[in-house]
Amino acid sequence: MLLEEAVSSGPMFFSLVPWMVCFPVIGLLINMFFGGMILERSKAGEKIVGSIASVAVGLTFVVAVLQAISLMGHPEGQVVPLADWITIGDLSIPWAFQVDTLSVVMMLFVSGVGTLIHIYAIGYMHEDVRHNGDPSRFRRFFVFMNLFIAAMMILISGSNYMMLFVGWEGVGLCSYLLIGFWYDKGKDGIGNALAAKKAMVTNRIGDFGFLLAAFSIFYLFRTYDFHTIFEKAPEVAAQNPGALLFITLCMLVGVTGKSAQFPLYVWLPDAMAGPTPVSALIHAATMVTAGVYLVARSAELYVLVPTAQFWVTLVGAATALLAATIAVGQFDIKKVLAYSTISQLGFMVAAVGMGAFVAGMFHLVTHAFFKALLFLSSGSVIQGLERGHHHVEHDPKLKKLLKGHAHDFDPQDMRNMGGLKDQMKITFWVYLIGAIALAGIPPLAGFWSKDEILADASKEFTWAYILLTIAAVFTAFYMTRQILMVFFGKPRTLAAEHAKESPPVMTVPLMILAALSVFGGLLNLPFAGFHNFAHWLEHTLGELAHAGEFVPLVALLSTLLALASIGVGYWLYHPRRYEQFWSAPAARRPDDPLRSYIGPVFDVLKNKYWVDELYWSLILNPYIALSRFLADVIDWRFWHDWFHDKVITGGFNLLTRLLAVRIDLGGIDAFFNGLATLVQRFAALLRQVQTGYVRNYALMIFVGVVVILGYLLLR
């Protein structure tokens, strides 16, 4: 019967879906228990450990592909129950995996991009652990990475909000662990640990919103199951629209935390403290898109509450513009990409907010390709520079030319680069492809997905369209600036001059990602007869997955604007001009050519609108002052010193003294002692009768006899 079914409507591999979580877990367990031994005993230990991790993720990708194949025959998908998890009263939360077109899209690109990044990381971490001086952490890196993939798979394949939450927290934990991977490095030896802490704390605020939403969902629907909730949602919305608004807005708070949206985006730039493959995998391609996935997954809830949709769109569009402008003023190659990521996430959030779920998910996928590509290439650039720096330091002739302290060299500062296109050809070309894709130049992937968002926005949300278009203009500008500063002109430092290309284990994944960035747009060309991605998602989202139309005017306008922006960028930063600018004495020239034109505005951008400082002065410092006050004054001085020591201990001592001295000693003891004294006195009195003279006693007896006889006679 199974065979017949398989023949009639394609094969079914849905039951394999739990393996998506199992494979990475098996991989991490192997590395956890045997990785240290492998690293010690074998010369190729790092390759083996890295391969185990990569194969684990690769197998996950294979399972994801099998799911996709199965879905082609059975597009309605399936819920695959694995085990009971929580059963309390009528609430039952199973471990069940949701296989439908939406989750499989996530599975495919998370495991696919994840595999490439794992392979890249074998090469990257090989050098990174040596630069940072602790090769034994190589194994730990891959354990964490596999754990991340497992958690991410739980997040995207859960069939209820609680499983999603488990994954949500799991990826948050891995993000924390990997940002703080070099926890003993960074500014003052604690910078990375602080960055990890910041990510953790900021995400907790978002998770608080998510939890409120989850509790409200249970209160309203008495279940966490996606299907049941979405079925009941219209009914509930009719009865109680406010509650649904509350749920969706609380979910938005969760989204702003995890997907780094305003106002909780501040953790993502600091998260660049983690190794670059982490930035690519977690903080660009996969984890940060969890928020977008959450909104898309809850599409049925959001479409019922236009107010919530408005706020999601506003947050997304505002973040897109804000982060894009900040990226213009950054000098750290990874910080530029981090703000770019925030900005692009803003595009996706705005898209799913507008109800353009297909466009949002489409951009999510293409963005995963080109942003992972950009991050990985930037990692290649950074290591190329570090190799150059290493070479210079160990060459006695060159070392003399080094000015200042060798340890001050920052391999991530774009001002230390320049001219890398000759030394690092492959990296340059893939970086260029990624940048063009990001800038939205047709026909690369970024153009199609971004344009679909803009086209959808232009129809109903004109204000969002304007914000996003301006953000796109800035995107093209900062990417031009970055490319020109990093790869063109003459090398500005000795390290850049001696930079070396990365090994193939790193460049091959880059080339694959570059190919995906070029051709990713084919997933969903906005022309009749294509729309593959929209049709694919239709099976899950129903009529919510409307296919984006191609609006020639919008496409033309955004392309022209992007080209113009690139032109302006080229005019400002073109190699000869920048060299001229750079050759001026350091004291007299501004830090960036742009400063000559916009002056103080550049300071605003460079300092990220002082948002961190604002948070410090508005929230953190008062909060710390409040906690100090609560700890010192309320808890220690009032509660401990005064209340406990004075009131309770003092009062108790007073009471016990009263009881012991006054009541016990003064009352009870005195009474019984007095009684005893009285008896003693009386006894002393009586004692005198006992003279010891026998004749006395005889006289007493005699008198007694006389008295008794007298009494008997006289009565």
């Binding site: 010891g692 003279y693 004749r695 005889a698 005699f702």
Partner: protein, 100 residues
């Protein structure tokens, strides 16, 4: 026949003599003798009343009292000897170590 009053008077006199002797004398042997005197005054009274009532139980009592008195003298004299051995004295007022 001698009237009972005379016997009684004699017995009382003897008893008073004995009692006074016990109370005022300090020599232990004299006190013993006084006790014997009182016992015998009681014996005399018993015998006299037994005669008057023409019943024998009073006479029987006297035999018992004489036996007890003999035993008591034996014990008493032994005590006096023991006291004398320790104190070299039989003054009854010296035996006051049990005073309160």
């Amino acid at each position: 026949m001698v009237p009972i009053q005379y016997y009684t008077a004699l017995a009382v006199t003897l008893f008073i003599l004995g009692a006074v002797g016990v109370l005022i004398r300090r020599n232990a042997i004299i006190i013993f003798m006084s006790i014997e005197l009182m016992l015998n005054s009681a014996n005399l009274a018993f015998v006299a009343f037994a005669r008057v009532r023409e019943a024998l139980d009073g006479q029987v009592f006297v035999f018992f009292i004489m036996a007890v008195a003999a035993a008591e003298v034996a014990v008493g004299l032994a005590l006096i000897v023991a006291i004398f051995r320790t104190k070299h004295n039989i003054d009854i007022d010296q035996m006051n170590s049990l005073q309160g």
